[in-house]
């Protein structure tokens, strides 16, 4: 009897204790998927900044699937009528949620802080919906980078390739020398990251915009697209046999260890090199994918601000303001490997690769060559994006040849729209 009584009692206590912990009003709740050591530490800068203003930070990290898991959680939270204050979000997800009427209007703050002038127009397209600021951009990642092991390249007398032909020559040279030329991780988003770089290199900015952003069936079904898939065949032929399912950082490790020559990956790969104690320019090289020198496909992390009952709460405003403060933009991006979303941040604290990146982004923004990355949700809506992933990945894994890949691509995009 006593045992049972204890059982009931402790259950009741636990159930009651469970009921408490809810966000209080003086805090912001932030849903994000930055959980790895470096980036989470970087985010802590933001947290401390807010705490200095007396605003609490309710952390809600949900990692997995490049934010896919977080988006699921977000849906559950919004459905339950308990949306977080701010949510890390990419590209079309922001537009979708804005169209659902779920996001707050930050225009007053944006005006006061003159966001219109300091944020590149291409990014504004995803932070401003119907003339209303709904999200605070944190950073700009460029996805069309190539990372190379300098000593491997030097050993085989290979210079940084400037175009596709030079790249193929370099790759074939490495291949002949028995070195894996390209380190790659066979996950759909990685396949697509390479694909869009190849596409941009092959067809140029206008073709990229037509195919990946406007989803023009003509562009999608063009001969150029056939050529893109042929080039993907070439890359597929020069990755090692175990690429399938590999995490990107393991591929990076192959370059670091000199097992492979190149990796085509966004600027976050830099962190791996730095962590391994390597120095840009000395141990490893970073350069734009051959043929995309003055162009940038970007992926920008933003904090979408969820509507809190019709108004922007002071805490929310403070968060948005802090995100876009030059101090945070610099501090965060130095750690993260990306470049600030603001174009007016000093590059003093950044390394060479990042300095190059900042210049590139600014130049591309000016010339109209700053384009959303399809692989990271800045090209097309999620349904289309994933449909393209399906085709690219299926082709890369040999499910069909490059000609049928073109047809499949046109069909898949049509169905998904």
């Amino acid at each position: 009897m006593t045992f049972r009584a204890k059982l009931i009692f402790s259950t009741a206590v636990l159930a009651l204790a469970a009921g408490t912990a809810r966000a209080d009003d003086d805090s912001v709740e932030v849903l994000h998927w930055w959980t790895a050591g470096g980036e989470a530490a970087a985010l802590n800068v933001l947290k401390e900044d807010l705490e200095a203003q007396g605003i609490g930070w309710q952390d809600m990290p949900v990692a997995g699937g490049g934010g896919a898991e977080a988006m699921t959680v977000l849906r559950a939270r919004v459905t339950s009528g308990d949306a977080p204050t701010a949510v890390q979000m990419l590209g079309f997800d922001i537009l979708d949620w804005a169209n659902q009427g779920a996001l707050a209007n930050l225009n007053d703050l944006a005006e006061q802080e003159a966001w219109d002038e300091v944020i590149p127009a291409a990014i504004q397209e995803f932070a401003k919906v119907d003339g209303k600021w709904v999200a605070a951009p944190v950073n700009v990642h460029s996805t069309n980078w190539v990372w190379a092991n300098k000593s491997v390249l030097d050993a085989h007398g290979i210079a940084v390739p400037a175009n596709w032909e030079e790249l193929t020559a370099a790759v074939e040279a490495l291949s002949a020398a028995g070195v894996t030329p390209i380190a790659h991780g066979g996950q759909p988003w990685q396949d697509a990251t390479v694909f869009e770089a190849v596409l941009l290199s092959t067809g140029g900015s206008d073709f990229y915009k037509a195919a990946m952003i406007d989803l023009d069936p003509e562009a999608l079904g063009s001969e150029t697209m056939g050529e893109v898939f042929k080039r993907m065949d070439f890359i597929r032929a020069h990755v090692d046999e175990n690429f399938s399912g590999r995490d990107w950082n393991l591929a990076t490790a192959m370059v670091i260890n000199g097992e492979a020559g190149f990796q085509m990956m966004g600027d976050w790969a830099k962190g791996e090199f730095l962590r391994a104690g390597q120095v840009p320019g000395q141990d490893f090289l970073c350069f734009r994918f051959p043929g995309t020198a003055d162009k940038v496909t970007f992926n920008a992390d933003q904090f979408a601000m969820f509507d809190q009952g019709g108004t922007v709460s002071p805490q929310q405003a403070a968060l948005a303001q802090a995100v876009l403060s030059p101090k945070f933009q610099s501090a965060f991006n130095v750690v993260k490997g990306s470049v600030p979303a603001r174009t007016d941040v000093s590059d003093a604290d950044f390394d060479d690769c990042a300095k190059q990146g900042m210049k590139d982004v600014a130049a591309a923004a000016a010339s109209g060559d700053l384009m959303g990355s399809l692989a990271h949700g800045y090209g097309a809506p999620a349904s289309v994006k994933n449909a393209i992933f399906d085709v690219v990945t299926a082709h890369f894994n040999g499910e069909f040849d490059s000609e049928s890949a073109v047809d499949e691509l046109v069909d898949a995009v049509a169905i998904a729209q």
Binding site: R4, L7, S10, T11, L14, A15, A17, A18, G19, T20, A21, R22, A23, E29, L31, W33, W34, T35, A36, G37, G38, E39, A40, A41, L43, N44, L46, K47, W57, Q58, D59, M60, P61, V62, A63, G64, G65, G66, G67, E69, T72, V73, R75, A76, R77, T79, S80, G81, D82, D247, N249, A253, G266, W268, G271, E272, R275, K336
Partner: protein, 293 residues
């Protein structure tokens, strides 16, 4: 209902026994392999992992990954380790297991000892509920939790686990109580015991084996749940699995595999302990309950 092998009627020769033991041991190694990989790699420095053989024993043994995973690994913005989330899981699992087990026991009691028209249909419907894929309940469940004001709370999470745990716990107890002599219930009725007195005083004290099975089952399922935990808990109320996922699944960042493995074992430890400690009762409970039915 002894669990010990019967005075076996099947006689085996020496060669047969050799084959028998060989097969059993080979399978044991197969089952142990993933755990082995996790354990040895959690005790290596990271450098040994990226450079070496996954199956090799550590050259330098280190507890540091364990310490780090427990108390200082970066799970959210703060380097809290898995420690706080471990308690979150406990706070969620204990009430959920107790409530769903009790509810299952009461349901099983009603469905076998207080039968009424349509009880079989109700049981069938409950049983079918075990088979609903959890992904489809996410959105409507979120709505209901919102309406109840329970979203983002551990109470809400407990509710969800109880709701989807009742089907299995009812199944276990119903099958067990079906074999429980109804005359005892009648005797107790004549003795003047009421519905709950009969349950507490007569049935429950004899339900040991099936309680063990049910608790093992519920504990494992609820402890291991990720989907509900991620969707319905608040950030700092998240259960262990969500924290582990945050630790392991960082999308862009450095992967500390030894810490990941240490964290994974930690997350698995309570369920492992439950299985090993209560495992011997498990077969007995299965015998009494679900299999023979």
């Amino acid at each position: 209902m002894a669990i010990a092998p019967q005075e076996s009627a099947v006689k085996t020769g020496r060669v047969t026994r050799f084959v028998l033991y060989t097969v059993l041991i080979v399978f044991a190694l197969f089952y142990l392999l993933p755990l082995f990989i996790m354990v040895i790699n959690s005790l290596k420095p990271l450098g040994e992992i990226t450079g070496g053989n996954m199956m090799a024993l550590p050259q330098v043994w280190t507890w540091e990954p364990w310490a780090k995973a427990w108390s200082s690994a970066q799970v959210g913005v703060e380097p809290t380790g898995l420690k706080p989330y471990f308690w979150n899981s406990i706070k969620m699992v204990v009430p959920a297991v107790v409530i769903s087990t009790m509810a299952g026991a009461l349901n099983g009691y009603v469905l076998t000892k207080w039968r009424f028209r349509g009880d079989t249909i109700i049981f069938g419907l409950m049983l079918f509920s075990c088979f609903i894929p959890f992904q489809i309940v996410l959105i409507p469940m979120a709505r209901i939790l919102g309406l109840l004001g329970l979203s983002g709370s551990t109470t809400g999470l407990v509710l969800v686990h109880v709701v989807y745990g009742i089907g299995f716990s009812t199944l276990y107890f119903r099958n067990y109580y079906a074999a429980f002599p109804s005359e005892l219930v009648r005797a107790a009725q004549i003795d003047g015991a009421g519905f709950f007195q009969i349950f507490w005083r007569i049935l429950l004290p004899s339900s040991g084996p099936i309680i063990v099975v049910c608790v093992i089952w519920q504990f494992t399922n609820i402890w291991n749940d990720f989907l509900f935990g991620a969707s319905f808990a608040s950030g700092d109320g998240a259960p262990m699995t969500v924290a582990l996922n945050n630790l392991v699944q960082s999308s862009t960042g450095v992967k500390e595999y030894n810490v990941h493995f240490a964290g994974a074992i930690m997350a698995a430890l309570p369920t492992l302990v439950v299985y090993i400690v209560a495992g011997r009762y498990f077969v007995r409970g299965l015998m009494a309950g679900s299999v023979k039915g």
